[in-house]
Amino acid sequence: MRVPNVVQTGKQSPFFIAGFIPTVLYLSFIGLPLVGLVLKAITSEGLIDALTGSLVIDAMLVTLVSSLTTVVIIFIVGTPLAYVIARAQFPGKRIVDITIEFPLVLPPTVAGLGLLMIFGADGFIGKMFSFFGIDIPFTIVAVILAQTFVAAPFYIRSARIGFESINPMYEHLSRTLGRSKIFTFWHVSFPLALRSIIAGLTLAWARAISEVGATIVFAGNFPGRTQTLSLSVIAGLEISLSFALAVSLLLISIAVGILVVINIIANQTKWRSY
């Protein structure tokens, strides 16, 4: 069979060159500080001591407990919410949409202050808890609330896209086969959106781990209580640069791990979108 020979080879187009230069500049801008930080960290003295010290271990524990709890809360509350937003049409949906995504554009410190105004001793909800002798600000609960506030939109957005990408006919067929809406959700919608759900949870977890602004305002930076790894970098700068570098190295390793997980998920054909 004859085929036309229309492929141009050799000379690169101006379009390609115009895109190439900014790409190199941007990659250097992102990559060089990271490389510099890693090189400085691994060559600095006291790396092992800093990483095995009680400050880092405590911060690691606070980070793990708070961020994993955050992810569980986001999953439980965010999944039905994402599904409703993806499937239902109702008055005021646009307002709900904007509200859900608002934390993405809100400065985290402002978010922290807002949480303090509500959950603080004089706040509307804070007063109710105070009545029972429970104080939320400057506790690990405050860390979790701050992380949930900033990280939830990442999960809800991803899960929503996952649900929206499912052909509604699958759900309808499940119903014609005698299955209820709830069963259909768990056995059709959820597995078909699983890749987006896992990717969203991973992103939300990453955001929770890196959270600083809202947490420092609402929960403070108390070692062993509310100090997460990200917050300990700030505290570390006051102690010694090598300590801050060591914690940063740890956080970069976690970030790389999360990126690897996200890429594995993205390439998993069994979790692809339908």
Partner: protein, 359 residues
């Protein structure tokens, strides 16, 4: 037995349809694209909620909008085979078929699935994943899934639309035998009069949402309405060419379109005859590596001359493969990003011969 009527409007389009089908009888909804055939099935199955309707099945009232009766979809006992078959992609063939058998005992489920697989002669597909099945096999499995629960009414939306002509003829005959065995009312939609003649006892001819003709098939001639092909999207690719070579035995012809050879699945005797060819962009696949030794008849070399992200999910690629007209193809953004597609990149455009419609 199923009787009822539906009045439903979408914008300026108004559907006004009534039906009366006995057990063991097959009713065909015949008409051109946009006449309201598939909408009727979607309203009957509950995929769309009707504005005004009355719907009875085996003397059980399912829908009566005047009295506010609207039986839940899962309680209607209606089997439905959509046009795209929509097998659950995360479940095996076996799990798809037994999906509706939730209140059956395990051995009953196994027996029923085996019985259906045997009856439809697809036993070897039992543990296969839907994505590995051909269109004909998917149709069989979707049919098995829809009747596994022994529904009281079966709805089929263009059951043969995704199959090529040779397979259609074989499956029409099989489906006819299967429908007779079921002894339930069957309503199916088709734009192809051959389907109506092969399967239906009675036919309703729909045009712009209303019945314009109908009666008992056999005493009835093909209506004058010429349906347009339903699978061709608005973005269909129109090409014009001449027959350069014909192969009567294989029912294949070669056409020259702007100097590019295209093989079509139709035997055309007159070499040099002018043809208009239509391709649905959804039937086109792309390869970003050189594509050789395949069973796909048409592999065209082209290059990407443009791309536009339509939304977070889809990217539209514009491809020049020398046909004299650019081809616009939607690809998933995920795939687009993963393949690292760049402007001016060579691309191989793959089209099966039977996906090219000839006029």
């Amino acid at each position: 037995m199923s009787v009822g009527w539906i009045k439903h409007s979408i914008g300026s389009f108004e559907l006004d349809y009534k039906w009366d089908v006995s057990n063991g009888e097959t009713l065909a909804l015949f008409g051109p694209s946009g006449s309201g055939k598939s909408l009727t099935l979607n309203l009957l199955s509950g995929f769309i909620t009707p504005q005004n309707a009355y719907f009875e099945l085996d003397s059980t009232l399912l829908v009566d909008t005047s009295k506010g009766v609207y039986q839940a979809i899962e309680k209607r006992d209606i089997g439905y085979v959509p046009q795209e078959y929509n097998l659950f992609p995360h479940l095996s063939v076996e799990k798809n078929i037994e999906y509706g058998l939730f209140n059956w005992k395990e051995f009953q489920k196994n027996t029923r699935v085996s019985e259906l697989l045997h009856w439809l002669q697809i036993e070897d597909l039992r543990f296969r994943s839907p994505e590995t099945l051909s269109a004909g096999q998917k149709q069989r499995v979707a049919f098995a899934r829809s009747i596994a629960r022994k529904p009281k009414l079966l709805l089929l939306d263009e059951p043969f639309a995704n199959l090529d002509e040779s397979l259609r003829n074989v499956l029409r005959q099989k489906l006819r035998e299967e429908i007779i065995e079921l002894s339930i009312p069957v309503i199916f939609v088709s734009h192809d009069w051959s389907d109506v003649e092969a399967l239906a006892h009675q036919v309703s001819v729909l045009s712009q949402g209303t019945i314009v003709d109908g009666g008992i098939v056999g005493k009835f001639h093909k209506p004058m309405i010429e349906p347009s092909p339903p699978l061709v999207s608005e973005n269909r690719i129109m090409l014009y060419g001449n027959v350069t070579q014909t192969d009567r035995d294989g029912h294949l012809s070669t056409c020259s379109v702007n100097g590019v050879s295209l093989i079509v699945r139709q035997s055309i005797v007159n070499t040099g005859k002018e043809l208009s060819l239509t391709i649905d962009p959804r039937d086109i696949s792309l390869s970003f590596d050189r594509f050789v030794n395949s069973t796909i008849e048409n592999v065209l070399t082209g290059r990407i001359i443009g791309s536009a992200n339509l939304d977070s999910l889809q990217t539209e690629l514009t491809i020049d493969c020398g046909l004299g007209t650019d081809i616009n193809i939607m690809v998933s953004r995920q795939l687009f990003d993963r393949c690292g597609v760049k402007p001016d990149q060579p691309v191989w455009v793959l089209v099966r011969a039977h996906d090219i419609r000839v006029k």
